[in-house]
């Protein structure tokens, strides 16, 4: 095998690292994206018996967003195995305990329950904020695009935009400003 071909084969099967910003993202929409990259489904060389999955770094998992009142509607079940050992934890309670857990479980549950799943999860790195160790960040060569845009808060919009924004409603005559 020539040197060029060897390098090319190394490049084809190299594990790449992706980063994904979870700010204001639905964890379950994101999970299918992250899963695709974790398992290598986005590669044309994908085959179930071909070990071509990538590493994914999830940052800001504390800032995930759920639609409506799903924080109180989604329940995580656990059973210790002893009688009366069942417990139900609401999503927001779990998120308060461990801000990476909801995201982790979403990715874990989005994959088929086979022997490969645990090994695939080893390639997932979760961080509740944007403080990522430098040795992990140095590997990252790609960022996964999010499905949802991050909404802008009114008090974070700069003053110029706020003042120049067109009005579509004017106050009636003698309206008392409040």
């Amino acid at each position: 095998m020539s040197i060029a071909k060897r390098v090319q084969q190394w490049a084809t099967f190299a594990r790449t690292w992706h980063i994904y910003d979870c700010t204001w993202q639905n964890p379950f929409e994101s999970a299918s994206l992250v899963k695709t990259h974790l398992m290598g489904l986005h590669k044309p060389i994908y085959h179930p018996m071909n070990d071509c999955g990538d590493h994914v770094v999830l940052i800001n998992t504390k800032e995930i967003a759920l639609p409506g009142d799903e924080w109180v509607k989604r329940v995580y079940f656990h059973h210790t195995g002893y009688p009366g050992g069942a417990s139900w934890t609401l999503a927001w309670q779990l998120h308060e305990k461990d801000p990476t857990m909801v995201m982790k479980k979403a990715v874990y549950n989005s994959m088929a329950g086979n022997l490969q799943r645990r090994h695939t999860m080893q390639r997932l790195h979760l961080f509740h904020d944007d403080q990522v160790p430098q040795d992990i960040l140095a590997n990252v060569t790609n960022q996964i695009r999010t499905p949802r845009t991050v909404p802008q808060r009114l008090d974070h919009i700069d003053k110029e935009t706020l003042e120049n924004f067109p009005a579509i409603m004017d106050y009636p005559k003698d309206y008392v400003l409040r």
Partner: protein, 188 residues
């Protein structure tokens, strides 16, 4: 691929050492013909041995031919190959012509064909002209100098125009129109 093929050897169609490019080496090394002298199921085999076997052995000096009579058993062809494969073939109730065709097949193939699952039903020396895929294929060159994470690389690509943006656009249009009207008045 079914479960019965799980432990079957798999591979790609290939010729050992590019056999036949310079000279041809017959890959079949030994051929064993097992038959019964009395049983009707071996009749075609007996005919073959009487009429053609000596000619076959003369034509193929590289193949060792064994003939093994055995009582009250079905006739069998066994070929052994240079790569160590062994192909076993039952020729029960087969005619003389069928047997000579089977032997021709055993002679011309590279190894045991039935013990190999073909991964691909084709073979090419040039699998891809544009070259195999790499993670850096079709990636924009300026992505190499980026330091991630960035907010631009995180945003979705196809965002429809929001109502806020549309309103700003309409307002700018209105201001432009007002400006043109003013200029016209000034020109007059």
């Amino acid at each position: 691929m079914s479960n019965s093929h799980l432990f079957l050897k798999s591979g790609f169609p290939r010729a050992p050492l590019q056999n036949g490019v310079g000279r041809y080496v017959c890959q079949l090394q030994r051929l064993t013909l097992k038959f019964c002298k009395n049983n009707g199921s071996s009749r075609g085999m007996r005919d073959f041995i009487e009429n053609h076997l000596v000619d076959f052995a003369k034509e193929n000096p590289g193949i060792v031919v064994y003939v093994k009579p055995r009582r009250h058993r079905a006739p069998v062809l066994v070929g052994e190959y240079l790569n160590g494969d062994r192909e076993w073939l039952s020729v029960r109730n087969s005619t003389q012509t069928e047997i000579s065709k089977w032997i021709d097949l055993l002679k011309t193939q590279n190894g045991s064909s039935s013990s190999l699952r073909l991964r691909k039903m084709w073979h090419t020396d040039v699998p891809s002209i544009q070259g195999p895929w790499t993670p850096f294929l079709l990636r924009s060159p300026d992505a190499h100098n980026q330091t991630y994470p960035t907010s631009e690389a995180s945003q979705p690509l196809d965002v429809p125009q929001t109502a806020t943006e549309k309103l700003i656009e309409l307002f700018k249009q209105q201001q432009l129109e007002a400006d043109t009207v003013l200029e016209q008045k000034r020109a007059e």
